[in-house]
């Protein structure tokens, strides 16, 4: 039984197929980089898995449990957490309240406070704990969003282009932080990313998508020298 599996996903928009029988099974924990040229179907796959979009066919399972089309809030409770490409935080809440939000929703806010402060200190944001998130820089908001995801204590993390728009200086902090969190709680990270350098250094395994389905998967090194992948990107 796979920890995470999609089978035969199909999604059409008008006449265009965004997903055409996409299947992917992941059995073990690890940081999985999901890459592919523009229009490969990464975002649609992401949307289908996270319950934003209903597929036309196919299924999504988590630990063997079918979750196709399950609402996002129920997925969150099943242990699937996500970040957003455009980076979302609650701008009016303080940084601490942003982190405390998920525990509050789940009704176990007690004790979460310590963990939240620990995470803030980890990325050097503790001094902003009582400042509204809107006052943070974009990169800092990225970090805050990530911290919020970890507060959910997820089993599967879906990160949607975490490096997008983050300045190079902060990229290393980000990368180091993700790796640290992975070491702390080794579970399944699925990272959609355009920044090759970033994902190659971060991921333990790379999944390449092309034309609505999975083209190749393998170690970063293997993928970098795979001619079919090169062809997909150049073609």
């Amino acid at each position: 039984m796979s920890a995470f599996a999609v089978r035969g996903l199909v999604k059409r928009y008008g006449g265009v197929s965004a997903l055409s029988g996409c299947s992917l099974e992941i059995d073990a924990s690890g940081i999985y980089g999901l890459i592919g040229p523009n229009g490969a179907g990464k975002t649609t796959l992401f949307d289908v898995v996270t319950g934003i979009t209903q597929p036309d066919a196919g299924s999504v399972t988590i630990d063997g449990r079918e979750v196709t089309g399950v609402a996002p809030h129920r997925l969150a409770r099943l242990g699937l957490a996500r970040t957003f490409q455009e980076c979302r935080v609650f701008p009016e809440f303080t940084c601490l309240d942003n982190l405390m939000f998920a525990p509050r929703v789940a009704g176990n806010a007690r004790g979460a406070h310590v963990e939240a402060m620990r995470l803030l200190e980890l990325v050097n944001l503790a001094r902003f704990a009582d400042e509204p998130a809107a006052t943070l820089s974009f990169g800092q908001r990225r970090l805050l969003e990530l911290l919020g995801v970890f507060m959910l204590r997820p089993r599967i993390l879906m990160l949607d282009e975490p490096a997008a728009g983050v300045n190079p200086a902060l990229l290393e902090v980000l990368s180091a932080f993700i790796q640290r969190m992975y070491r702390e709680r080794p579970c399944l990270f699925l990272v959609v990313e355009h920044n090759m350098e970033f994902i190659i250094s971060l991921a333990t395994e790379i999944v390449v998508m092309h034309e609505g389905r999975v083209l190749e998967r393998g170690s970063p090194e293997a993928i970098q020298s795979n001619p079919r992948v090169m062809e997909a990107y150049l073609g």
Binding site: P72, H73, F90, P91, A102
Partner: protein, 315 residues
Amino acid sequence: MLKLAAVTGLTLALFAVPSMAADQPYLIHVLVLCCLYAIPAVGLNLMLGYTGLVSLGHMGFAGIGAYTAAVLMVDAGLGFWGALAAGLIAAAVAGAAIGAVCLRFRSHFFMIVTLAFGLMLYAVMNNWDGITRGAAGFPGIPRPGPLGPLSFGSLQDFYYLALSAALFAFLVQWRVVRSDFGRILMALRQDERLAQARGVNAMLYKTGVFALGSALAGLGGVLHVAFLRVAAPATFSFAESINIVLVVIVGGAGALAGPALGAVVYVGLPEYLRVASEWRLVLFGVLLVLLMRFAPRGMAGLLADGWQRLLRRSP
């Protein structure tokens, strides 16, 4: 601590008004009106100010509460307090049911669907002659009967009731805003998709606040018709729904004191001053546009800014 003292002082002062201004029943009448507008405004503030749900049919739910209570009191001989409870429940249930339909739509769609329901509820109040007495109004609604040693028949005594009800509404608002429920509502206004991704069943919470807001509207509606001693569709019309939106906005949406400030500035002062009506409304219209451009947080926002400036100036 300072805030608590200020609120307690204000509350005591408000309760003392009838004994200080016994020879000014009109002032007390206007204060009652302020309470009657502030109560549904608190309900709408929870929806519009905290959750971001701009409902343009809010007073329709006040009407459900009011007419339920009116029919129970006049036709079924139920006492005021039982009728009040029934009116509240009816408004809340209608709010949950109608809200569940409205909430399937977002942004502009939501506004227009709530507007449509407001107009449809008005049509029922106006047209259902056999039950609501139709367009001519439902006269003969009794003032509340005594509760133990307390009576509410006279203007002064009714003022205590209206004031207590308004305070109750503000207390509810304060409790909600400070609770996890309130946090979730505010999160939904800021970013609904993020809140969902963090495990919030958005539909459930939004329906909840719609029902709560409607119940408060119902409370205001029942008191309104008990005060006027007549229920008329005009009290729950589209124009009144817009007025209640403006009370919330002028006062400051998403501020605890917003509905109170709005009711005083938008309802109380113009009534007390009896300004010529057309130009007053032209002025309010223009003021509203200016408010949106330059002070979208309303009176509460202006006051808070002024207070901050004052604090900064003094050493």
